[in-house]
């Protein structure tokens, strides 16, 4: 009799597991998730499985990522079909340019004056550090004086240590 009871218990348990699909769907879901989470690009994808149909939602960075997600899901054992509702992420906004005033206390208008003044002097570049215009390049003596006069007019201190004399 003990044997019979045991067999019956096994049979009942077997029937329950056959009838109910949910535990199996849950296993499939876990399997798909494991696969998707393994790829950093696909970390934004979510999956839901119902009766063997996997529905993908969430975000992917591009079309190829979206297709790849679908393929990976399709290949998981127990997935009958895939509904791919993945959205393509908007491209990340370009990083904002560092403000021109980051390294300098000189305002835009002042910087522009200096740049305007250097426009006609070839071979000299300027960057602004703290309260100074740091000039780099090769100049004639006449141009060196022009630069200094222009900086004085714009009321900007100078750093000409990187300005060399043209031979």
């Amino acid at each position: 009799m003990k044997m019979t009871k045991l067999l019956m218990a096994i049979a009942i348990a077997g029937t329950i597991s056959l009838v109910s699909c949910s535990p199996k769907d849950a296993d499939v879901k876990t399997a798909v998730e494991t696969q998707l989470k393994a790829k950093p690009d696909m970390a934004g994808a979510m999956v839901d499985v119902k009766d063997g149909v996997a529905t993908l939602t969430g975000e992917c960075k591009d079309e190829s990522c979206k297709a790849e997600c679908e393929k990976i899901t399709q290949d998981v054992k127990g997935v009958k079909s895939v509904i791919n509702n993945l959205a393509i992420m908007a491209p990340p906004p370009p990083p904002p340019p560092p403000p021109a005033s980051m390294n300098t206390m000189l305002d835009e208008a002042t910087q522009q004056k200096v740049k305007d003044g250097l426009k006609d002097i070839n071979g000299v570049t300027v960057e602004f550090v703290e309260d100074k215009a740091v000039l780099t390049g090769e100049v004639t003596n006449a141009n060196r004086m022009k630069i200094m006069q222009m900086l004085s007019a714009a009321k900007v201190k100078s750093d000409v240590s990187k300005l060399t004399d043209k031979k």
Binding site: G117, N141, M150, A153, A154, K155
Partner: protein, 138 residues
């Protein structure tokens, strides 16, 4: 007072040349000298002296903000190297070019907008802003 001593000859010269509103002040190791020179020749002489005292003007310890006396209506000579001087609609190089003044041409000062840009008028009646660096009062 070290900086002031270094440029003592320059300040003496500015006084002798009769630079108007001459102001000399030392701040954070930088000597600020400002005033209005009587002529372009005086202005050039002071800058030459600066270059002599501080070879290549490399120390960055002098801010010589000297302009040249020029009132509205004064004649200015275009002192570009050889090219035309652009006359623009606004006092920046972003401004639209509304005219050109040739190298050596004489133009009339309308107003000193700031130390870098002046409003000028050509003999042809073109009016706009030009970079003051290339304009020398006569």
């Amino acid at each position: 007072m070290a900086v002031q001593e270094k440029y003592a000859e320059l300040i003496q010269s500015a006084t002798t040349l009769g630079v108007a509103n001459l102001a000399v002040a030392e701040k954070d190791g930088v000597l600020h000298v400002s005033g209005t020179a009587k002529s372009t020749a005086d202005y050039d002489a002071l800058w030459a002296l600066y270059d002599k005292i501080d070879p290549s003007m490399a120390s960055g310890d002098l801010m010589m903000n000297i302009d040249i006396k020029a009132d509205a209506g004064a004649q200015l000579k275009v002192t570009t190297d050889s090219t035309n001087l652009n006359i623009r609609s606004t006092p920046t190089t972003e401004g639209e070019i509304v005219g050109k003044a040739a190298h050596g041409e004489l133009v009339t000062l309308v107003e000193k907008t700031d130390d870098s840009w002046w409003k000028i008028k050509t003999a042809d009646g073109e009016e706009g802003y030009a970079y003051a660096q290339y304009l020398s009062p006569l």
